[in-house]
């Protein structure tokens, strides 16, 4: 409970205020954005003076003020959704089915619904602002028999539905492009400059995204437009004006003016939302300077050595590690506090806590890589990576982790909270994992049965054999055999055909087992022939590699922090506190280096991701593994160049010494 309080401390005092500031700025930016929208939407080159004067009078009218208030409300809700849904570790779907699971998740559904409604509100504001034929939903018209009635204004309806559609597609694309992922930048800049720098990108993204959305919307409205139209007429008791063209025809939709208005409204909507998102990202990733040590004991839980060991919330850990990396580089005074000894007792508590946490992060990653490599690349070739103890722990982990070897449950960092806030407190087995197949255990598709399905499919897929056959072939039986041992989600109602007991299989190959085996093959063959299933369950290339390094920003900072501190200790560490941990730092870096090198020899691991410009989704996570590899090498070189030949007196195994010699001779 104490740790929960601490995390509350940070969220309450820092994150919430940062989010509030970002929302406030987004609301403040609303008037200029709206003014630009009004000017562009009423654009008429033939009557420039009339155009300008109309715009000015509209800006000061009461309806504009009301629209402002509504739009401000929408921005605040968007800001809250950003705060609620953001994550510093991306949720990477490793197959189409996992992505589908994410999209259909109830939480996501809720978000989509809210976005839809907000889209309608914004579109209504747009309709009012553009005015003219868009202004109201109903208008008085004269029926054929001469009686006055209220008719449905289809232009208004089209605009409202466009808003809903754009809001919905925004929320779906947010999942696909990981738009809720907040990345940290290597180049620190002031918030204003960062915002200014990202403004052109926001404009470009919102314009192009709006274009695509409007195109899709027009196609959908052409085919399905009559449904909302008749429903509207029925519920609101409106009539359709038969003298006008219906808009769900080709002639009706090829109205350039209408398309322009749809596009500019969609751009306005996306622009305001993206701005809110960008501001949130900028504010929340701002560097926070934690005190290294405090003279008051009640503040000690806010100090860097304490904070850095926290598991939750993730953002706190990330900001603490970022602060560590920066202080080790730039702040000699704070570095000296890290190297200092405690006043009564003379223990280097600060350094011990920091180095221990960083080393445990690194060894975590190492183990994860070893486990992954063991399951993926071996067909009996893999040699033990390093010393026996680690070997043992890694195999332990793979046993514990049961049927999903990609998520060793002993590593806490793999547990990715979908939100760092409310849900993360739940923790435990319910918390979603960044697993290749199951990014969300509570998603409807992520039962163990599903995972069982994936194995046979992969095993028999003809085009998988070329790339990943050893991996699949080995993993297949493993998945099947261990499946009964671990009921992760407690869904025991599995078809008996698909669950052969491993003990039976091994000890007495009975008739039953034989029968089960045959049935299994049949099921596999049957499923493999279905194209749709193949499509859904095929693993996306390099996605598992991305998922493996999803939180590597933390490791990068840990490496930077450690290496800079060690470098500084050469001249600044008066008590020699770093000396004691230098062997373990070096050995853990070298072991990690070996594991990373081996990982990059796997197929797809070293292939560069396609650079996707023009989306607001942050693709930083796709290249984290390359950044980690480069940082790791630089970190080792930083230590070896600083210490040089002095390293020969550091105790380490012969294998590591050989490896280190390579670095000393600049041959890596």
């Amino acid at each position: 409970m104490f740790s929960a309080q601490q995390s509350c401390w940070f969220v309450r005092k820092v994150i919430c205020w940062r989010a509030a500031a970002s929302i406030a700025w987004a609301v403040l930016l609303l008037p200029p954005t709206t003014a630009a929208f009004i000017i562009l939407s009423r654009f008429s080159i033939l009557h420039p003076f009339q155009w300008i004067s109309e715009c000015l009078s509209l800006l000061t009218s009461a309806s504009a003020i009301f629209s402002f208030i509504l739009l401000g409300g929408v921005i605040i809700i968007v800001g809250f959704l950003n705060l609620e849904y953001y994550t510093v570790i991306p949720n990477i779907a490793c197959s189409k089915i996992a992505l589908l699971g994410q999209l259909l998740h109830p939480r996501q559904f809720l978000s989509s619904l809210v976005h839809c409604i907000m889209g309608i509100i914004v579109a209504w504001c747009c309709a009012v602002t553009i005015g003219g034929r868009y202004e109201t939903l109903g208008y008085p018209c004269v029926e054929s028999d001469g009686s006055p009635e209220m008719c449905l204004n289809e232009y208004h309806l089209v605009l409202l539905l466009a808003g809903a559609f754009v809001g919905f597609s925004h929320s779906l694309l947010g999942v696909i492009h990981n738009m809720n992922y907040v990345s940290f930048h290597t180049v620190q800049r002031y918030k204003y400059l960062r915002f200014k720098g990202s403004l052109p990108l926001v404009v470009k993204c919102s314009a192009t995204q709006a274009l695509y959305s409007v195109r899709n919307y027009i196609v959908i409205y052409f085919f399905l437009g009559y449904i909302p139209k008749t429903w509207m007429c029925k519920t609101l008791n409106l009539h359709l004006n038969s003298s006008l063209h219906s808009l769900d025809t080709i002639a009706g939709l090829l109205d350039l003016c209408l398309i322009y208005h749809l596009w500019i409204s969609a751009t306005f909507l996306l622009f305001t939302w993206y701005i809110t998102l960008v501001l949130f990202r900028i504010f929340v990733t701002e560097v926070y300077s934690f005190p290294v040590q405090s003279s008051f004991t009640e503040d000690s839980h806010q100090c860097l050595p304490k904070v850095i060991t926290e598991k939750q919330p993730m953002i706190l850990k990330f900001l603490a590690l970022q602060d560590l990396a920066l202080l080790s580089q730039h702040a000699p005074l704070r570095r000296s506090e890290v190297f200092s000894l405690s006043q009564p007792g003379g223990h280097p508590h600060n350094w011990n806590a920091i180095s221990k946490e960083c080393l445990s992060l690194l060894s975590d990653l190492t183990q994860r890589l070893i486990v992954y490599h063991d399951t993926v690349a071996t067909n009996g070739r893999a040699k033990p990576l390093s010393t026996g103890s680690e070997r043992k722990t890694s195999s332990d982990t793979s046993v514990i982790s049961g049927d999903d070897p990609f998520t060793p449950k002993s590593t806490p960092l793999m547990k990715t909270p979908a939100s760092v806030f409310t849900r993360s407190v739940v923790g435990g087995p319910q918390s979603p994992l960044t697993a290749p197949f199951t990014p969300d255990l509570d998603s409807p598709f992520a039962s163990p049965a599903l995972r069982r399905l994936t194995a046979p499919v992969g095993q028999c897929s003809p085009w998988h054999d070329t790339v990943q056959s050893p991996h699949i072939m080995r993993r297949g039986p493993k998945l099947w055999s261990t499946s009964t041992d671990s009921h992760v989600n407690g869904s025991p109602q599995l078809s008996p055909a698909s669950v052969p007991s491993p003990k039976q299989e091994v000890s007495k190959p009975s008739l039953l087992a034989q029968f089960l085996q045959n049935r299994k093959e049949q099921v596999k063959n049957f499923l493999a022939k279905r194209v749709l299933i193949m499509y859904l369950f095929n693993k996306l290339p390099e996605a598992s590699s991305q998922a493996l390094f999803a939180d590597s920003q933390a490791h990068i900072w840990a490496l930077e922090g450690l290496s800079y501190l060690v470098q500084a200790s050469f001249s600044e560490d008066r008590f020699g506190v770093v000396q004691t941990t230098l062997p373990s730092i070096l050995s853990s870096m070298l072991v990690l280096q070996e594991a990373v090198d081996r990982h990059f020899k796997l197929p797809h691991a070293s292939s560069k991701p396609v650079r996707s410009s023009g989306t607001m989704g942050d693709c930083h996570y796709k290249t984290l593994r390359f950044a980690l590899r480069a940082t790791l090498k630089t970190a080792i070189y930083r230590i070896t160049t600083t210490f040089g030949d002095h390293l020969s007196t550091v105790q380490m195994s012969a294998e590591h010494r050989k490896r280190l010699q390579q670095f000393l001779e600049y041959k890596e």
Binding site: L193, K196, F626, R629, A630, T634, R638
Partner: protein, 520 residues
């Protein structure tokens, strides 16, 4: 303030500077060293062959016959080669009558565009240059277009170096290995600068005409032609040609500059993403230099302005110049002092940055520390005039020797380009003291110079000559900052009394002379 009049006179012709020992520059007549002569004689032919191979693509266009294609095909090709302006040009110049209207519209648009661009060009005259000319204009290399060695870079930690040649290939020489990898890439054209990544054995950044390449050359590999898969291509629209690059001393970031782009790019090379640092004014960025302590970056622009960026939060100070643009600059090893030169002036300025907490303000004005105005020396070969504008500056990593490459005058025979070397002293006040001129063999003009990053016995200046030759000139001295182990001067120079030509046989000089044909 130091001036050239205090310098010892230049060597008589036929003598070359060999090294500095016991506080004086030793020279030797080149006729004494037969090996060097021989090498330099058969070098000319090779240089020619190098030049023959290095035709640019535009020049090869003339060799092909024109053949008629449809207007659309030509338009597509023009769009690909020359962008929008090229397309308009192509359509306007076509002689097809059936699309007279389009012709007219395109002609008008083109005229409008040209008018706008000429207006823009009148603000920033460098924008009208072709990219080759632009690199030549802003490069640190003297006379870049016909220089055999276009760029040179020592590895920051080992004794290997990379040389970019006129034919757009890069060769890597390592005294410890027999293989000399040659790097060639489709996009590697008009190399303006190369630099090795610090704290890394393999990564070499190359500034090219259209992009930035980062080669990963495995030092243990035996391959002499690393595939182009070993190179990362970093490009950003509008950011070409790249004329200058600088790695951060911690090896994490790379900055690149282009005179066409007002933004300076900060690259996270491993992730291949960049942060443009945009500042209005200046019209581009021409030269970058990262201070050795990593705290500041000098960025000069084509106009009368340069900036000094602080790398913590990436904010900058503006430094307007009076007479011309900032041509070159270098940092003291502790990053506290910046020396720079301005085009059109013959002096070296110094700026001092203090990292006192609380005072974010840097210096208020630059101080003149050396005057390099033209001075005539009376030598036995007649009068030689030395001095004038400065092409580039180089400060050795210990902060004791400053080499200045003076442009000279290409027309006048008695005013050759020359390298003047100063001794620098920081206490009690910062001052430059004369050391001497570094001269090559007759007819060879210095084009490019760099100090070895970690030479044990003092400083080692590497000079690339117009003949395609690369020589190393060692300066033996005891560093003021390093504790003295010996009692009397120059302990590291093994046999100071021997004839200078014997230096070539000393292990330190195993790679003293390098010429292109030794490579081939």
């Amino acid at each position: 303030m130091c001036s050239l009049a205090l310098f010892p006179p230049p060597l008589p012709s036929g003598h070359t500077t060999l090294c500095e020992s016991n506080n004086e520059l030793l020279s030797g007549a080149s006729s004494e060293d037969h090996r060097l002569i021989q090498v330099s004689q058969n070098k000319l032919g090779i240089n020619k062959s190098l030049k023959l191979h290095s035709r640019t693509e535009s020049s090869s266009k003339a060799a092909f016959l024109d053949h008629s294609e449809t207007l659309w095909m030509r338009s597509a090709a023009a769009w690909r080669d020359g962008g929008f302006t090229g397309l308009l040009n192509e359509i306007t110049n076509s002689h097809t009558e059936d699309i007279f209207q389009i012709l007219k519209i395109c002609g008008c648009t083109l005229a409008l565009l040209q008018w706008v661009s000429s207006f823009h060009g009148s603000l920033f005259p460098h924008l009208t240059l072709s990219s080759e000319d632009m690199i030549a204009e802003f490069s640190q290399v003297l006379n870049w277009p016909d220089c055999v060695v276009r760029a040179f870079a020592w590895h920051p930690h080992t004794d290997k170096f990379a040389v970019a040649l006129l034919d757009d290939s890069i060769k890597i020489y390592n005294p410890k290995s027999a293989t000399t990898p040659t790097l060639k890439h489709r996009l590697q054209r008009s190399v303006a600068a190369v630099q090795w990544k610090p704290l890394c054995a393999s990564a070499l950044a190359v500034a090219c005409q259209n992009c930035l390449l980062v080669w990963h050359v495995d030092p243990c590999s035996l391959s002499t032609r690393p595939s182009s898969g070993c190179a990362q291509v970093l490009s950003h629209p509008g950011h070409s040609p790249v004329t200058s690059i600088a790695w951060s001393p911690s090896g994490s970031l790379l900055v690149s500059a282009s005179p066409m782009d007002t933004a300076m790019m900060v690259w996270d090379v491993a992730a291949e993403n960049c942060v443009p640092l945009q500042r209005v004014g200046g019209g581009g960025v021409t030269f970058l230099s990262w201070s050795p302590d990593g705290s500041h970056v000098l960025a000069s622009t084509p106009s009368l302005l340069f900036r000094v960026w602080e790398t913590r939060m990436w904010t900058c100070e503006r430094w307007p110049c009076v007479k011309g643009r900032c041509q070159s600059g270098c940092w003291s090893p502790d990053g506290s002092r910046l020396l720079f030169t301005v085009q059109g002036e013959t002096v070296i300025y110094a700026l001092t940055f203090t990292d006192a907490p609380g005072t974010s303000k840097g210096p208020q004005a630059a101080a003149v520390v050396a005057d390099l105005s033209e001075t005539t020396f009376n030598t036995q070969d007649g009068d030689i005039t030395v001095g004038g504008e400065i092409q580039s500056l180089a400060w050795d990593p210990k902060g004791e020797r400053l080499a200045v490459l003076l442009k000279g005058d290409a027309q006048a025979a008695d005013r050759p380009p020359v390298i003047a070397v100063f001794k620098t002293r920081t206490s009690p006040i910062f001052e430059l003291l004369p050391c001497g001129f570094v001269q090559g063999e007759p007819g060879a003009e210095p084009r490019l110079m760099q100090f070895h990053p970690n030479f044990q016995h003092g400083a080692l200046l590497t000079v690339c000559w117009s003949t395609g030759r690369i020589t190393h000139v060692p300066f033996y001295f005891l560093s003021a900052g390093v504790p003295h182990f010996g009692l009397n001067g120059s302990p590291s120079l093994p046999r100071p009394q021997e004839r200078p030509s014997d230096f070539a046989n000393h292990p330190t000089f195993r790679f003293v002379v390098w010429t292109p044909e030794e490579a081939s």
